[in-house]
């Protein structure tokens, strides 16, 4: 078994999630060929072979061509990326170029059968690819990072220059609004709050609990709250003493930003909402009734 692991470079830095790819390969006992494309001086340490391809860090046509070249030479059984903005963007291109089955956001594997979450994590699908080369993206955080050791033999290459989408530059979110990363208590609202005006109910509860107000992404996207309140993989990562999730279903991208909280309490009317997987207490309730009553009781 041979696995080709493709690292993600953003801003000339190798994403540390490369260690999760190594952890996955280690679990399978696979021989590793690493591939890092982009100009970075970061070097992962592992035993195996590492190909460094110099050039732009986002240039999907060039990256695809480099993977094709390397797959032809190395003949791996698996090509593995993290299911991130880089991985899910490159993997389907590889699936077409290499005529290979692709499985997205894998969270477990047993005997060649891959488990992926569907319907917002409420169900798990078992998938088996056709024999031959398979392209995988792994759910971020699903596989324990390898304790890296060893130094790979390095081969240097240069990315070809090909027409196609090209990186113009990066933009970061303006750093205004609240900083949730240091908050000790967070009352967080999700789409279940229903409408903008109802956020006041959570704000009042937050005030009596001396908590900051957090939110899931749809609340931000709808324009109900400032983006600085968003918790999750594309928002802020938090780890407060108390995280009270109100009307939040518990999508993996939300969980990624709050599952390290000390005490998680969910308030949700759907007993099967996946937030139950990380919550210590789960209040089965309608927010409209429960939040005002709780606020009053605490006053």
């Amino acid at each position: 078994m041979k696995a080709m692991l493709i690292g993600e470079v953003v801003g000339a830095k190798l994403n540390p999630s490369f260690a999760e790819l190594l952890g996955f390969a280690g679990r399978l006992g696979a021989e590793v060929v690493g591939l890092v494309m982009g100009d970075t001086s970061d070097r992962p340490s592992f035993a195996g072979k590492l190909v460094l391809a110099a050039g732009p860090e986002y240039a999907p046509q060039a990256h695809k061509a480099m993977v094709q070249e390397l797959v032809a030479a190395e003949k791996p059984d698996l090509v593995v990326l993290v299911h991130s903005a880089y991985g899910w963007d490159l993997a389907p291109r590889l699936a077409v170029a290499l005529s290979a089955p692709q499985i997205s956001e894998v969270k477990e594997v047993t005997d060649g059968v891959y488990q992926v979450g569907v319907c917002n994590g409420k169900l798990v699908r078992q998938l088996a690819p056709n024999p031959g080369l398979t392209i995988l993206t792994l759910q971020a955080g699903a596989f324990a990072p390898a304790q890296e050791s060893g130094s790979p033999t390095v081969e240097n290459k240069t990315l070809p220059s090909l027409p196609g989408p090209g990186l113009v530059g990066y933009k970061s979110k303006p750093k205004t609004g609240v900083d949730l990363s240091k908050a000790e208590r967070i009352v967080s609202v999700g789409r279940g709050i229903g409408k903008k005006e109802n956020i006041e109910l959570a704000r009042k509860l937050a005030a009596v609990l001396k908590a900051e107000l957090g939110s899931s992404r749809p609340v931000v996207d709808a324009g109900w709250i400032d983006p600085s309140h968003q918790v999750g993989s594309t928002g802020t990562t938090v780890a407060p003493k108390l995280y009270l999730a109100c009307g939040i279903s518990g999508a993996v991208q939300h969980l990624a930003g709050m599952k390290k909280s000390e005490l998680i309490i969910a308030v949700n009317k759907d007993k099967e909402a996946p937030i139950g997987e990380v919550a210590r207490y789960f209040v089965v309730a309608d927010l409209m009734e429960f939040l005002p009553a709780l606020t009053e009781a605490l006053q």
Partner: protein, 254 residues
């Protein structure tokens, strides 16, 4: 400019899902269905583009079972000009590649300049179909777009990366973009537009038998471990009293 938007109808995710023994997909009886959330952003962006370019045509397409025609009707009411339904009563047996291949077959000779899709579906969440389609059509493609602008001779988009960082990417036409949540504020169809949509053309194409998928579904189950959450139920006063007691015990309130 010819614009295509590809959408999917998905089950309401707040549903209770029931998986019959040995089945590889859930039972659809009694569930309600809606347009995949990501696709609503795709439709909105396509409609805005069409509105800014008067000489353009906007086509909406779905691959799905007969019920999926409802999603097309809503997209027509949001502003698409005509609709194509690739009808397949067993659409759920397809893998992403098979879906993309069927769509590519249906649209490859239609000369679309721009194609919008959602970045993933809410049910399967593979995030594959959009870019598989652009690759099969041999056109530019880019995923996870939260900002879109038409430029001289092409488009410039913002891709969302982790932690709120965005990458600005330029590409030439024809092109496909997959749309991420928050790209815009999708409109609600107005009553007059719902009425007008009834007169817009909706073409149904019956898809032939499926070829073997590249990825075979072997099963569908509940997640193995449901965590250790303790449920607090009962009438409102009981639940409030219990939670207050817990907060006191944890010294989170005085």
């Amino acid at each position: 400019m010819k614009i295509l938007v590809c959408i999917k109808q998905v089950a309401d995710l707040e549903s209770r899902f029931v998986v019959p023994a040995g089945a590889t997909w859930f039972d659809e009886a009694d569930l309600s269905f809606r347009i995949n959330e990501y696709d609503e952003y795709a439709i909105e962006e396509a409609v805005r583009l069409k509105e800014s370019l008067p000489e353009s045509e906007l086509v909406v397409l779905t691959l799905g079972p007969p019920r999926a025609a409802e999603a097309l009707k809503k997209a027509l009411a949001m502003g698409a000009d005509r609709a194509i339904h690739l009808n397949d009563p067993k659409a759920q047996d397809r893998d992403s590649f098979s879906v993309a291949q069927a769509i590519a077959g249906a649209v490859k000779d239609q000369g679309f300049d721009l194609i919008f899709t959602g970045m993933q579906s809410q049910d399967r969440g593979s995030g594959q179909v959009g870019l598989l389609l652009s690759e099969l059509l041999g056109i530019n493609g880019v995923s996870c777009v939260v900002g879109f602008a038409k430029t001289e001779g092409g488009i410039q988009v913002e891709r969302e990366l982790d932690g709120g960082l965005r990458a600005e990417v330029a590409l030439g036409l024809p092109a496909l973009v997959t749309c991420q949540l928050g790209l815009n504020q999708p409109r609600y169809p107005t009553l007059p537009n719902i009425m007008k949509a009834k007169k817009k053309p909706l073409e149904t194409i019956e898809l032939g038998p499926q070829t073997a998928p590249r990825v075979k579904a072997q099963g569908l189950s509940l997640p193995p471990k449901r965590g250790a959450a303790e449920f607090i139920e009962g009438d409102n006063a009981t639940k409030v009293a219990k939670l207050v007691a817990i907060l006191k015990e944890k010294k989170l309130v005085g």
